[in-house]
Structure formats: structure tokens, C-alpha cells
């Protein structure tokens, strides 16, 4: 290489450098915390997709900035364990900018100074949130303000195996009329256990009624059927009624004695519960959520779009009322996006959440994981109409839905009331004794945060 060519290249290089943009391209990293969960990979995926949309907009505006989402995928066993990990990370200054969490943790997040108040953000881009189903906002509200954005919604129900009901001699009219009979308060929780117990007695089913084996939101539906209101809005405190709790535990005992509920269900694992309803000669009724629809369809040997086939095999109802003429109950347990109050990119993170919460990305999540929509518009989308027939069928049940209280001690509350469920079902305590024990524990652990009613 001659000296001239070296000098030539140097000149070219220097010229190129001097014409480089004054502002270098800036990449802003937004950290996203999400539990690795097969029931919703797009909860995180939609935020990543939102960043791509935003980057395209930034580019169009001539901005040199771009957004990169750094995913912190955690492997906690459930949303409760994950929220505790998140709070620990927050307390040592390692919190992400956005987190995917179960809504009832919002109270804890606000008290810990993690969750940002979203009111201003929502007001700043009203069009992006205007179609949100209003009742869902309740799930992210804490003391009158919204601290998150609902990411999905779901509906829980009692699943009945129609073939077993037929084998039990129940008519097609009875089966078809069950949802209405539950809604009118004609078919009660006691009737439910009578039917379930009869199926076990007659050897048609191995188990009558399966509820979740561990602590979790479902029990709130049953408690609501007995008129237990877990939350006192005015005082922002949890509450429990002793007499109603005794009645609720009495019903569980009744079901175990009828052989409807297996006495040891609280020591089962989830897979046994799922398998027991999907097996050939096992459970008559299972109580859980809509997101199991696809697995049930497969287990019953049906095609994914076979709506009529599915409802020929399975009937859904709300949680029946405890007494004749009472009101049924349901609950939805939304997963939500929370933005970090202390994040340097708070506004940007909120915008990513807004983009991820739009009908198209949300429907992608909802139809692949059997979750109900968060906006009204979604139900009319072709994808939803074609693939989301389960969700559309489940949406009417949401009429009776309530949410878990967003109180920082709701986890402890659920854990203690579950102790009573286990004590009664295994025969360790009678309903009265269990209720007294649970109330003593609630008073000891929650002290001022719980109101004890008669």
C-alpha cells in the first residue's frame, strides 16, 4: 500500500466521521419483569411488540432514540411467590420498569412505593383506554386511584360432566337448565353436593366435586355465595363474618360427608385435579377457570372449533347460591401491568403498556390462552369470533363477577381461611371450631387490618 493511498483512506475516514450525526442513536432500555408462564407468554411478548411499534413511530418522527425491552423472566411457582420476589427486588433497588402481576398485589405494591399512579397517564392518552371494560378498572384501583392496567380477564366456573349426569339419570332438560337454575337461585350449593355425592355413591364418578387443592382466589366465589364480603371499601380493610364463615365451613363438611368432596383434596397436586376431571371415570364436577377449556376439548377427543361438541360434554355454571333464591357468584382474577413509580422511564413504560393493551395484541394473548377480553371491541374481532368462542360463551358469567380485594394482606387472609377449609375437610375440626380458630388467627396475624363481624 502506497503512502498516497494510506493518506487517501485517512482523509476519507476523517470526512466520514465528521459527517456522523451530531446526536448518536440512543437506545433506552425498559426492564420488564414477567413470570415464565405457559398460560400467558404474550403478557411479556405484547410489551416487546409494543416497543417495536413505538420504535417505528419514533423512526418516522426522525428521532434517533429507540426503545429496547429487557425481559427479566422469573421462575416463581405462582403469582404470589413472584410478587414477593418483586417486592424484595424493589426493596434493594433492583425493581423493573414494568411488571406483570396478579391484581390483588396492587395494595402491597402501592404501600411499598412500587406501583405508579396511572391516572395522569390514562388521562393523557384517553383514546388508548376508552374501550376498556369499565368493571376491570376496579381490579387495579386502590384507595380511589388506578395503579395498573388490566392485562387480561377471566371467568371461573363449575364444569359438569354431562355424560356422567346422564348416567345418573338426569334428563337433557335438567342439564340444559342447570345454568339458569343456578342463576335463579333454585339450584343451591347443597343441591350441588347432593348430586355430586349421589354420583360417587352410585359409582358413576370417583369424585363428586373437585375444588382447587391449594390456597387461591376460587374460594372467594364460594364465600361470596354464603354472603361473606371480604372487603370493607369505606375503611379499606378486610373483613369476615363469623356466622357466615361457620355456615361456609358447614357446607364443606356436608359435602365431605356426602362423599362429594374428597376429604384429602387439599393434599392433592394440581395435575391430579386436572387429570381427575379429564379422565374417563373420575370426577363429576370441577371448579376452576375458563383457561382449561382447550385442554378439556383435547381430553374429550373433540376438535378445537367444535363448540356444540364441547357443550354436549360439559356444562358451565356460576357458583350456586348457598340458599334457595340466593344470588350466584363468580369472580375474575385479572393479571395486570404495573409501572414502577421510581423508574426513570416511567412515562415511556406507561406508553408501552398502553400500546400492549390495544385490541389486536391483547386478542392475540386472549385467544391463545382462553382469557376473556379487556376491551369491548375485541369480541367483534374475527379472531375472537372464530377462535374465541369459549371466551364469548363465558363472558355472560361475568355478570356476577367480583374481584379479590386489593389489600396488602389478602394473601395472608386467604391462607388463613384456607386453613379452616383443610381443617374441616380432613375432619380435624368441626365448622364452628374451625371458624373460631380462623378468626383467632386472623386477629393475631392481621390485627387492625381485619374487621370481625358476627
Amino acid at each position: 500500500m502506497s503512502i498516497r493511498s494510506i493518506v487517501g483512506s485517512a482523509v476519507v475516514a476523517a470526512t466520514a466521521l465528521s459527517f456522523a450525526p451530531a446526536a448518536m442513536a440512543e437506545e433506552i432500555t425498559v426492564k420488564l419483569w414477567s413470570r415464565a408462564d405457559r398460560a400467558g407468554p404474550l403478557r411479556a411478548g405484547n410489551i416487546v411488540a409494543a416497543a417495536e411499534t413505538l420504535n417505528a413511530m419514533l423512526k418516522a418522527s426522525g428521532s434517533e432514540k429507540s426503545v429496547k425491552v429487557e425481559l427479566i423472566e422469573t421462575n416463581a411457582k405462582g403469582f404470589d411467590a413472584d410478587a414477593l420476589d418483586l417486592l424484595k427486588a424493589h426493596s434493594v433497588g433492583e425493581a423493573p420498569d414494568i411488571a406483570v402481576a396478579a391484581h390483588e398485589w396492587i395494595g402491597s405494591f402501592v404501600e411499598a412505593g412500587f406501583a405508579a399512579n396511572m391516572e395522569e397517564h390514562i388521562a393523557s392518552v384517553p383514546d388508548l383506554y376508552a374501550d376498556m371494560i369499565p368493571s376491570l378498572w376496579t381490579s387495579v384501583s386502590y384507595k380511589g386511584n388506578r395503579y395498573g392496567v388490566p392485562q387480561d380477564s377471566e371467568v371461573r366456573m363449575f364444569f359438569y360432566n354431562n355424560d356422567k349426569l346422564r348416567a345418573l339419570g338426569k334428563s337433557e332438560e335438567f342439564i340444559a337448565g342447570l345454568p339458569a337454575a343456578v342463576n335463579s337461585g333454585e339450584f343451591t350449593l347443597y343441591d350441588l353436593c347432593d348430586v355430586a355425592g349421589e354420583a360417587v355413591e352410585k359409582g358413576i364418578a370417583e369424585q363428586g366435586l373437585l375444588h382447587r387443592p391449594n390456597i387461591g382466589p376460587d374460594f372467594q366465589m364460594l364465600m361470596a355465595s354464603f354472603g361473606i364480603e371480604m372487603y370493607n371499601q369505606e375503611q379499606a380493610k378486610l373483613q369476615i363474618s363469623k356466622s357466615k364463615l361457620t355456615e361456609y365451613y358447614g357446607w364443606l363438611r356436608y359435602c365431605v360427608e356426602k362423599k362429594a368432596i374428597p376429604a384429602d383434596i387439599t393434599s392433592w397436586d394440581w395435575s391430579s385435579v386436572h387429570d381427575a376431571f379429564r379422565g374417563k371415570k373420575t370426577a363429576l364436577i370441577k371448579f376452576h377457570g375458563i383457561w382449561h377449556g382447550n385442554n378439556q376439548i383435547k381430553a374429550f377427543g373433540l376438535e378445537l372449533d367444535d363448540k356444540d361438541g364441547y357443550f354436549d360434554k360439559i356444562t358451565w355454571t356460576n357458583a350456586p347460591a348457598a340458599a334457595k333464591g340466593g344470588s350466584p357468584s363468580n369472580m375474575s382474577h385479572p393479571i395486570v401491568y404495573v409501572v414502577n413509580e421510581q423508574s426513570d422511564q416511567k412515562e415511556l413504560a406507561a406508553m408501552l403498556v398502553a400500546l400492549a393493551s390495544q385490541p389486536v395484541p391483547n386478542t392475540r394473548h386472549a385467544v391463545t390462552t382462553n382469557h376473556t377480553p379487556i376491551t369491548f371491541g375485541q369480541t367483534a374481532m374475527p379472531d375472537f369470533v372464530e377462535k374465541g368462542w369459549l371466551q364469548i360463551a363465558g363472558t355472560p358469567l361475568l355478570k356476577y363477577a367480583q374481584f379479590m380485594p386489593n389489600h396488602s394482606k389478602i394473601g395472608q387472609y386467604n391462607s388463613i381461611t384456607f386453613q379452616g377449609v383443610q381443617a374441616v375437610e380432613t375432619g380435624e375440626m368441626g365448622p364452628q371450631e374451625a371458624a373460631e380458630f380462623v378468626i383467632e388467627e386472623l386477629e393475631a396475624e392481621l390485627s387492625d387490618d381485619v374487621i370481625i363481624l358476627d
Binding site: D80, A81, E206, N214, D264, S267, S408, N414, E440, A444
Partner: protein, 318 residues
């Protein structure tokens, strides 16, 4: 000159002590003393969820004790705590007596009195539960005790004309004692075997010449030689069992029927999805466990005369 030498030797002694004892002391401070002190602080705080230390309070202990003027000590125990204490006592006592010491001893005696290869084989078999990963071991138990007729145990029972049983529901304590015992027995077995091996052979020959049968040999030759290993295993395993919860958790989950003190501390503080996150409450229970452990260790120390075991040997050559 003399003083310099003395100084040098003293310095050397000190540096030698630091060199040899230093790592052990640092480890002891880091992993034994520091956690206890930390636990003490947390137990007297209201640390939860956010792991903040905000105030000094004794309210965690109010969750365990109730002020009661009629009680002897001015307080009584809350139901859950009282139950955990009783379950811990049953669990530790039974596992220790029937397995970790009792069965370990039987295994050591039987496997040393049969031909050596066979003995080694049986000991290896009994080591398997300890060697298998805890989750795999728990899974095998789950398969064995499944309450339906597909469970291995129930298949055997039904085949023998008996009714199927549900251990988890009807005998949960028996289940956790068996599961822990099968693992715990091997430790005693190894220690006792090596102690039996170190008994001079001529003692056995002499006993036989004197006309002693197998039982008499065990009673008068073997057991006296095992006195110290027996004391050691008893003290060590008592402490280990008091704080163990791994297999209870894997087999029973947070079941009320097997909620020992260690399990209670775990479920209130760190266990996933069972209302955990009450770190101070868990620490308070742990503090009580530490106190019980210390009392148990000192009591057993006294009872089994461990002091004598740890005394300096008398035949030291100076």
C-alpha cells in the same frame, strides 16, 4: 536474646493459631453466629414483604403466645403454635427412636454379623434413599402411597385382601416419620458400623469361648462400645430433625396435619404461595426453635455424658 526468642515463639504460636483456626472461626461466625444474630433482629421487627427493618417490636410473639393471668407463666400458647410444638415433639422423638438411632443400630449390628460382602451390599441399599435427590425420593413416595387403587402400597394391600389406605389423610405423621426415617437410618448405620468394626476381634473370640450367644455378645460387647456414637447420633439427629422440613414439604405441602415448628416458620416466611412473606413472624418461630434446640442439646449432653467423650485423651504423650 531469650526474650526475643520467646517473643518470636509466641508470635509464631499466634500466627499458627490464626492459620489453622482462622478459616474455621470465620466460617463459624459467618454461617452460624451471624444468622442467629440476624434472626434475633428480624424476630423483633415487623419485617415483611418489602424486607424493610422499620421498628423494634415484640408483636410477632403475640402471634404465638396469649397473655393469660391464670396460666402458670402468665401466658398460654396459641392453638397453631401449641399444635406445632406437639407435632414437632412427636416427629423428632419417633423418627429418632425408631429410625435414626433404633433402626440404624439394628442395621449396623445385622450387617456386621453377616458375611462382609453381603453386609456391604445391604448397607449400600440402605444408603440409596440418602443418595437419591430429595424430589425424586419424594416422588417415589407419592407413587407408593397414592390413595387410589393405583398406588403401589394399595395394590399390595388389595392383593392381600386388605382395604386400601390413605396415609396422607389418615396417618400423615406416620408417613413423614417413615419417609424421613428411611433416610435418617443410614447415617446412624454408618457411624455404628465403623464403631463396631473398631472393636478388637479378640473380644468377640473371648466372648464366644466363654459361651456367649449372639444376644449376649450384642449386650455385653457391642453396645458398650457404641455408647459414644449413640450419644453423638442422638444429639446430632435431634437437632437436625427439629429444623428439618424438606421432606415434609415435598410430601405433604403446607398441610395442617404435619405442620411442625420448622414447617410453620417456613410457610409463614418463605414458602411459595401460602401467605408467606412474613419474615419477622418466621424469624420469631425460628428463634423459639433455636432456643428449643439449645435446651435439647444441653439436656442430651448432660444425659448422655457427652462431656466425657469430648475430654482430652488421657494417654497424651508430652
Amino acid at each position: 536474646m531469650q526474650t526475643t526468642l520467646m517473643n518470636r515463639s509466641k508470635r509464631r504460636q499466634m500466627s499458627n493459631a490464626a492459620l489453622f483456626m482462622g478459616p474455621a472461626i470465620v466460617l463459624l461466625l459467618l454461617f452460624f453466629v451471624a444468622p442467629i444474630i440476624l434472626n434475633l433482629f428480624v424476630a423483633f421487627s415487623d419485617m415483611h414483604q418489602t424486607v424493610d427493618f422499620r421498628e423494634f417490636t415484640t408483636k410477632q410473639f403475640a402471634k404465638l403466645f396469649i397473655a393469660d393471668d391464670e396460666a402458670l407463666l402468665g401466658f398460654s400458647l396459641r392453638y397453631a403454635f401449641n399444635k406445632a410444638l406437639i407435632l414437632s415433639a412427636i416427629y423428632v422423638f419417633c423418627t429418632l427412636l425408631f429410625f435414626n438411632v433404633g433402626f440404624g443400630l439394628i442395621l449396623a449390628i445385622t450387617t456386621t454379623s453377616i458375611p462382609e460382602r453381603l453386609g456391604t451390599f445391604y448397607r449400600a441399599v440402605w444408603l440409596l434413599p440418602r443418595m437419591s435427590p430429595s424430589v425424586v425420593y419424594a416422588l417415589l413416595w407419592h407413587w407408593t402411597i397414592t390413595p387410589t387403587e393405583t398406588g403401589l402400597l394399595n395394590q399390595i394391600l388389595v392383593y392381600s385382601g386388605l382395604e386400601p389406605i390413605n396415609l396422607k389423610l389418615d396417618n400423615p405423621m406416620l408417613l413423614i416419620i417413615l419417609a424421613n426415617g428411611f433416610i435418617g437410618a443410614s447415617m446412624g448405620m454408618i457411624i455404628f458400623t465403623s464403631a463396631i468394626r473398631s472393636i478388637p476381634k479378640h473380644l468377640f473370640y473371648a466372648a464366644k469361648v466363654d459361651g456367649a450367644g449372639p444376644l449376649a455378645i450384642i449386650r455385653f460387647v457391642v453396645i458398650p462400645a457404641l455408647r459414644w456414637p449413640l450419644s453423638y447420633i442422638t444429639v446430632y439427629q435431634t437437632l437436625a430433625l427439629l429444623v428439618s422440613f424438606e421432606y415434609i414439604w415435598l410430601l405433604m405441602g403446607p398441610a395442617r396435619s404435619t405442620m411442625t415448628l420448622a414447617m410453620l416458620a417456613f410457610t409463614k416466611s418463605l414458602a411459595p404461595g401460602v401467605g408467606g412473606g412474613q419474615y419477622a413472624y418466621g424469624a420469631a418461630i425460628s428463634l423459639i426453635l433455636i432456643i428449643i434446640g439449645v435446651i435439647a442439646a444441653l439436656g442430651l449432653w448432660r444425659l448422655t455424658n457427652m462431656k466425657k467423650l469430648l475430654q482430652a485423651p488421657r494417654i497424651e504423650v508430652h
